[in-house]
């Protein structure tokens, strides 16, 4: 198609000035962009208020949409379930039988555990979650992995609080608005969670890869003791996360650690709970 923009502006001074001013503002836009970018790099929470206000305003629409997410995702699962009903039933009955045995064993262990703890004078760390909220969106176009949650400062949410679902750790609160907040998912490239192996307490760090997995980096670099299927839970060091929240399961070994799949996939999670910061003093030292 031929251009419909005039090549020369003619003799109108007004038109010439308008055109020139438009270009000045356009170039200024690029300069402003660079300046703001540098300012954002130096402190990541610098424009928190603007972002918080923006997501507060769009919250009602997003919450309405989030209701449809779980129904549309479960619809396909329900249709699929019809085809697998028979084999599933058989398998479930077998599972139930083994689960009953395991339950009995666990009850025995639990009583023993309680008795031993009383001996040691340990107290149980039973904290009430601050609020339960909905994940209403995520930055699906950016390489940063943030999710938007439908609770903010009005509901008592503050920065640094861990967010989890019933399956495991989702991330922690990075920025708060009045009724929304931005959650840094554990899969983000700039998220590091101190973890330990569930069975023996081998310490490591879980670093996000931005593609749905985390990389497990061992603290002690010896022969790689990991194997596929190892489950990692939060260790509680660092002060943000309560200990023993499940994080990830190892899927692939690397020379200096492993690639692990996150246990609670944010895409399949609708409701999350926000916990208080585990140890505020230790956490503030890190920040």
């Amino acid at each position: 198609m031929a251009s419909s923009v005039k090549r020369s502006l003619g003799f109108s001074r007004r038109e010439q000035y308008t055109n020139f001013a438009a270009w000045v503002v356009a170039v200024l836009g690029a300069v402003i962009g660079i300046t703001l970018l540098v300012l954002s790099w130096t402190r990541s929470d610098r424009f928190e208020d603007a972002r918080g206000a923006a997501s507060d305003v769009t919250r009602p629409v997003a919450v309405a949409g989030a209701g449809g997410r779980s129904t549309s995702q479960s619809m396909f699962e329900e249709i699929g379930a019809y085809f697998r009903a028979g084999s599933k039933n058989r398998r479930l009955e077998k599972d139930l039988a083994t689960a009953r045995v395991r339950l009995a064993e666990l009850q025995a262990v639990e009583t023993e555990n309680r008795r031993l703890k009383e001996l040691l004078n340990l107290f149980e760390d039973e904290r009430e979650p601050i609020v339960s909220a909905r994940l209403i969106g995520s930055t699906s176009t950016s390489t940063r992995r943030f999710a938007t949650m439908s609770a903010g400062t009005n509901q008592g949410v503050a920065r640094g609080m861990p967010v989890r679902s019933e399956r495991g750790l989702i991330g922690r609160v990075l920025e708060t608005g009045r009724n929304t907040s931005r959650v840094l998912l554990v899969t983000d490239r700039q998220s590091t969670v101190p973890v330990r192996r569930a069975e023996d307490g081998l310490t490591a760090f879980a670093e996000g890869e931005s593609d749905g997995t985390v990389r497990i980096r061992l603290v002690d670099l010896t022969i790689n003791p990991l194997k596929p299927g190892d489950i990692f839970v939060t260790s509680g060091s660092g002060g943000f996360y309560l200990p023993n929240i499940p994080v990830a399961v190892v899927t692939e070994l690397l020379s200096d650690g492993a690639v692990a799949q996150v246990l609670s996939n944010p895409a399949a999670t609708e409701f999350v709970t926000v916990d208080p910061v585990f140890d505020p003093d230790a956490a503030s030292e890190i920040e």
Binding site: M1, A2, S3, S4, V5, R7, A22, V25, A26, V27, L28, G29, A30, I32, G33, I34, T35, L36, L37, V38, L39, S40, W41, S44, R46, F47, A50, R51, S55, T58, V61, A62, G65, A66, G68, R69, I136, G137, S138, T139, S140, T141, S142, T143, R144, R145, F146, A147, L185, T187, R189, E209, S210, D211, G212, V262, N265, P266, A267, T269
Partner: protein, 184 residues
């Protein structure tokens, strides 16, 4: 024959009504509104574990600029980029810079190559989108180039639907010029 012609005229009555003119709000506002709406994709109930959704706001901006040169001013990247930054998850300033550069680049293309076909438009749009995604990943994770390795699927998903975005902008453009307000 005459009947066929009349039915065609009847169908277009909404567009060509005599005594009515397009409303200025729609004529100048709809491009801005549609691009700003496209910036709200992070508010959609899609939660992905990797970047997958195409940068719709940028693609709409390119499509509007290519379909109706001169309708959006050269400086449109500044406010639209700022709006996009509020939701996209990128550090603030990334969108302002990249949207502004996009407008300047498209203006330069307009001057150098006044005659273009659709395939060429698609090619320019593809180039801009790839550069946008790569620079966006670098800006979001400064000093960490590993983020570039996960961009592949998103780049592919962004280049293919360009004709579709173009069509939507075409439909919006017709909607924009519907004669709504009565001439007095």
């Amino acid at each position: 024959m005459a009947i066929a012609v009349r039915s065609k005229v009847k169908k277009r009555r909404g567009v060509g009504r005599i005594g009515y003119a397009p409303s200025p709000l729609m004529v100048y506002g709809l491009p801005w509104a549609s691009i700003m709406l496209a910036s709200l994709t992070p508010m959609l109930p899609i939660i992905t574990s990797a970047p997958l959704v195409p940068p719709l706001a940028l693609m709409m901006l390119i499509a509007w600029r290519q379909l109706r040169p001169g309708l959006l001013p050269v400086w449109a990247g500044l406010p639209l980029g700022f709006w996009d930054d509020l939701f996209s998850g990128q550090p603030l300033g990334s969108g302002i810079l990249l949207f502004s550069l996009t407008m300047i680049a498209l203006e330069a293309v307009e001057r150098q190559l006044p005659w273009r076909g659709f395939l060429q438009e698609w090619l320019f749009a593809s180039l801009i989108v790839v550069v946008y995604l790569v620079l966006g990943a670098v800006f979001a994770n400064p000093g960490d180039f590993g983020a570039l390795t996960i961009l592949g699927p998103q780049i592919l998903l962004s280049l293919l639907p360009f004709p579709f975005v173009n069509r939507i902008v075409g439909i919006l453009d017709r909607l924009r010029l519907v004669r709504l307000s009565r001439i007095r």
